[in-house]
Amino acid sequence: MKTAIEQPLIEVTDLSVRYKRGQAPVLRDVSFSMNCGESIALVGDSGCGKSTLAMSLMRLLPADAAVRGSIVFRGDGEFEPMDLMGVDERTMQAVRGKHIAMVFQNSVGSLDPVMRVGNQIAEVVRVTQGADRSTAHKMAIKLIERVGLPSPQRLAQAWPHELSGGMAQRVGLALALAGNPSLIIADEPTSAMDANVQSQILEVFRHACRQAGVALLLITHDICVAQALANRVCVLDRGSLVDNRPIDKLDSPSCHAATKRLVDAARLKSKAFTAIAGKMV
């Protein structure tokens, strides 16, 4: 990991989101910050507002969502720090993909089914970096290579429905890397995969992010996945950020009850697994 610079990459202060007037807020006064190249895992039970947090960082919430708070994004020093909550849509479009990119849980579904994989990557390259058609295509093939996919030339010609979930998620990562962002938000990138593919994909993520020096905001419900990738853990519980600590300090007694619950759940799972494995031997 790179050493943290004193200025944080992104700083979220008192972020609250409410979908419908009168309903309970989905996020309540969430504050945290991320440094350049850091990887943070955002952990919590399903329905605690993890994805909402991710979408509000991208400002892609549905129109009826009411958002409060500030998200100050500094980027890699190319521009003045700005509050993503305050900028206009055009600026936000320039931020998306180019400075903050996203990887989705539904890996196959987040690819346009009627467009070849290579063209989709090249499209992002062209939009975010202003490259011309042939350069973009070459870069797309390089990106496919970078996420560890075999025979990138042929894969660029493939259709999304021909990819397996793991391959599609690698393509998703390539799409995120295409804009050369300083932050990647990965929303449950491996939840829909079996354990074997999951560990491969996590390895690709770790490698790619470290190589490019990209900060990673990993959203997951599984503390094991967090341990594999992140160096800090933020725990969300029913819309509030209840814990924020380094990954190796999860055992400490000062942990919030929600954190303990998640850690215990993970332990129980691995213990049960060892027990079964023991019986089989």
């Binding site: 979908y19 994805s51 909402t52 979408m55 919430l61 549905p62 849980q105």
Partner: protein, 350 residues
């Protein structure tokens, strides 16, 4: 006709949750539908050339009532009308002198009763047409024909469609292949062409029109039922039913068919509108129920032939067809909404 694919009826859903407005529309559609069905059922009591009750040569007669009863399908044929009223030469208007209760519109739909092209008056509420027939009376009996064609043709189409769809969807394999090809080839014929080609052989008449429309418009329903069967055949509850020993057709009728009933009813509502339009189109061409019969399509044709001199003749049949079809569409749409609550596009968020 405007029969644009009955199997995928008008998509008419928006994200709005404005229920009050919609229910106002639906309520009036239901009211109009009931109104039309009542008119259709009791047309001779509303407009007829013979009285409802009358005394003739010392005895009481109910000629319009027995004509109404006569229109009931199958059993209606057994009812014999009382003697002098049965003869076409018998003119109740001149023969009767004693007590008689006439329908509100005391003119028959085919009766040449007055001067041609009278404008609306207290005797002829909507005026008379080019041959001196009362327009209101013709409208009422036209409604009866439209409703009959719509309802019976769709019952027939629903029966054939459910039958073919069930066989194709339930047995699968060769039966499915045959069913699909049958549906496909029927869908290739433009409905109007096929109907006209059959009408050429079987000739005019309400039952012919109903039969032909019913036997050509079932494809959408069959496709729906088949799709419903195919999608739910693999579901767990079918396996569960099988696991406790239920047999093939029992599962089909008891578990699978109910799921297909809703979409079928929706398709039948929309199909009813199409059938009414088809019948009106046929009558407009003079090839449907018969050129003398009072039909909305035929009245439109009469109006079209005199479009330069009496354009006002168009108004009543145009309005009736429009309201009737719109009514079917609104009811079909409402039925679909109530069957499928997933219609609203709120956007799914994770």
């Amino acid at each position: 006709m405007t029969t644009l694919n009955p199997s995928s009826p008008m998509v008419w859903s928006d994200g709005s949750t404005d229920r009050s407005h919609r229910s106002w529309l639906v309520r009036s559609a239901i009211a109009i539908a009931i109104f039309l069905v009542l008119i259709a059922a009791f047309a001779p009591l509303l407009a007829w050339h013979q009285p409802i009750v009358c005394r003739y040569q010392g005895a009481l007669y109910f000629p319009a009532v027995s004509d109404t009863a006569n229109r009931i399908p199958i059993v209606g044929g057994w009812i014999q009308k009382a003697k002098p009223f049965r003869f076409p030469s018998f003119d109740a208007r001149t023969e009767l002198d004693a007590f008689a209760v006439w329908p509100p519109v005391p003119f028959g739909p085919m009766e040449l009763i007055a001067d041609a092209n009278l404008s609306a008056s207290t005797t002829h509420w909507l005026g008379t047409d080019d041959r001196g027939r009362d327009i209101l009376s013709r409208m009422i009996h036209g409604a009866a024909i439209s409703v009959q064609v719509g309802v019976y043709a769709m019952l027939l189409a629903g029966f054939v469609g459910v039958l073919v769809g069930t066989i194709a969807g339930f047995y699968g394999g060769a039966a499915d292949w045959m069913g699909c090809r049958l549906i496909e080839m029927m869908m290739c014929f433009p409905a109007f062409f096929l109907i006209l080609a059959v009408m050429v052989w079987i000739g005019n008449g309400v039952s012919g029109v109903i039969l032909v429309i019913g036997l050509t418009q079932w494809t959408g329903i069959a496709r729906l039922v088949r799709a419903e069967f195919l999608s739910s055949r693999e579901l767990d509850f079918v396996d569960a039913a099988r696991s406790y020993g239920a047999k093939g057709w029992y599962i089909a009728l008891r578990h699978l068919l109910p799921g297909a009933i809703g979409p079928t009813l929706v398709a039948m509502m929309f199909g009813m509108a199409d059938a009414i339009l088809l019948e009106a189109g046929l009558s407009w061409l003079g090839l449907g129920v018969g050129s003398e019969s009072p039909t909305w399509g035929g009245m439109l044709r009469d109006a079209f032939d005199q479009i330069r001199t009496h354009p006002g003749l168009m108004i009543a049949p145009c309005a009736a067809i429009f309201v009737c079809v719109l009514c079917c569409h609104i009811l079909g749409e409402q039925l679909r909404r109530s069957l499928d609550p997933r219609q609203s596009f709120g956007g799914n968020r994770s």
